[in-house]
Structures are given as C-alpha cells and as structure tokens.
Amino acid sequence: MIQALRISAIAIACLMFVAGLAASIWAIAGNPLPESLPQLLSENMSRSGVEHPVTAVLLNFRSYDTLLEIGVLVIAGIAGISMAKTTSLEDPELRTSDSLLYALQRWFVPLMLVLAGYLLWAGADRPGGAFQAGAVLAATGVLMRLGGIPMEFIRPGLLLRLGLALGFTVFLLVALASAIGGDAFLAYPPAMAKTLIVVIESVLTLSIAMVLLALFVSAPVNDAEDPEEGGSS
C-alpha cells in the first residue's frame, strides 16, 4: 500500500517534471535566438585546420573540453583497474572455444581494424573521429577476448598504464608546447594545426580503445580488500 502510494507519487512528480520541461522547451523554441554561433564558426573554419565542423569544435575551438573528457575516461579506467587486484586479468571462465566464433573472428577482426582506421581518417571531413574509431577498436578487443585469444597485455602492469596514459600525454604535451611557444595553453600554430590534430586523434584512438577494453576486462575481481579505518571493532 505504502509502496504503491510512493510509486504513484513519484510518477506524478515525474509527469509534472516532463510537463514543465516540455512547456519551457516550447517557450524557448518560440523565442528568437540572440546569437548565432554556427555563423561565427563557419567564419573561423579556415583557421581550424580541418574541414569537418564537429571535429573542428572538438579538437580546436573547444579542445580543452576534449582534453578534460579524455581525463574523465582515464579516471574511469584507473578506478576500474584499481578494483581488479589480480596480477592477471585473464578470466578462463570467460573464454569460449566455440569454433564458429573463432572462424567468424578471423574474418571480422581484420575488417574491424580497417574500419577503425577508416573512421579515424574520415573524421577530418565527415562524421567519424577518434572516439568512434576507438570504440570499434575496443569492440574488436572484446570480440577477441570472448573468442579465447589470450591478451596478456591487459593486466594492471606498466604496459597497460602506459597505454592508458599515452593519448592523454600526447595531447597534454601539445598543449604545453603551444604554451611554451608563447601562445595560450592549447593554441595550435595555424600552419601545424592539421598535423597536430591528426597526431592527437591517432593516439587518442589507441588510448580510448585501451580504456574501454580495460574496463571491460577488469570487471572480474578477487577477494582482496582493504579494511575500513578502525573497522576491526
């Protein structure tokens, strides 16, 4: 009874929330827009180094967001591998020795690697880019892992941590180099913008794939644990 009352109260509150939100969306949709950012953006596109506006926003105009976003991803990866306290993250139970899956893999893995490369390259002038490519790369890793291909490099050793940090480090070094060059933090020299963006995107792809794969792989855990402070009593 109380449970039903509680659920209906929450349902009513959520409905009111939707109604209020929809009303203000409707009201905002009717108001004139004071500032047109897309126009300003297209005026500055020539200075950004890439042709696709979304990539330009992500990696040039608002590159600080992207830098911090990769930081968030690395944090999730760190927190994930800190949960897994085994020396090896291999979990024999997760391996299948399905011959069909194995055959499928031999077709799919190279194709997916090519697709990831294409997505990365396409980011310059059409939808695509580091994150999409990294996600496909990570999916390849997941497929390989489920198919029973051992992946010894995914254990919480130095190699994995280097991989996690690689993309972020390169991005950060570029940012620092631009600051040392006398410009603002993260300001690329216009002549080198294209090269720098391609370099950053490539290493980011690797790191993003690594983080996602590490999070997938690090889910199994063992029993090691840290007692709470003064928790013995």
């Binding site: 969306i25 949709a29 047109s36 976003e69």
Partner: protein, 106 residues
Amino acid sequence: MTAPLLYALAGALLCGLGLFGLLCLSHLLRKLLAFNVMGSGVFLVMVGLPQHQGGPDPVPQALVLTGIVVAIAATALAVVLIRRYYHLSGLTTLDAEPTSREGGQE
C-alpha cells in the same frame, strides 16, 4: 513544429522516464540503465532545441559527443563498482544494510 523540436520534446519525455526509473527501481543495473535513458533524453534536448531555429549547428553536436564519452566513462565505472559490490556482498540493491546497523539514525 519542426523535426528538431520534436526531438527535443521526445528528449523531455525520456528525461522524465529516466528520472522515474532512477528514483523507483532498486536494482542497481536498472538504475544505471535509467540513468542512461535520462542521459539520452538530455542529449536529444541539447541537439534538438538549438537546431529548431538555427539550422544545423555543429557546436551542440560536438558537446553531445563529449557528453556521450563522459556518460560512457561513468557507466563503465558504475558497472565495475556494481560487479565488485555484488561479488563482495551478494546484493544487487542499495536498500538492505549489509553490515550491522551501527551507523546511527539515518
């Protein structure tokens, strides 16, 4: 009524659904899925609303891309935490107290 505005309104509906799920459901994975539904709603509003009048706008599209990455990071972290929590306590909800109740009056 343009298509982007319809997206924005659908986004509002998804936000409400997700909020309801987040408050009502007790299984942690369901809560997490509800969070993702709500997140999708927010992204729809974010992309739909500015494009209703201004036409294609790459800025919110880029913002949403960043937002999706952040949401994925948060979801993945939550899944890892939930799995470890389940592994250690055998519980899938936050409702029942796993250890003795010495915490106080909350």
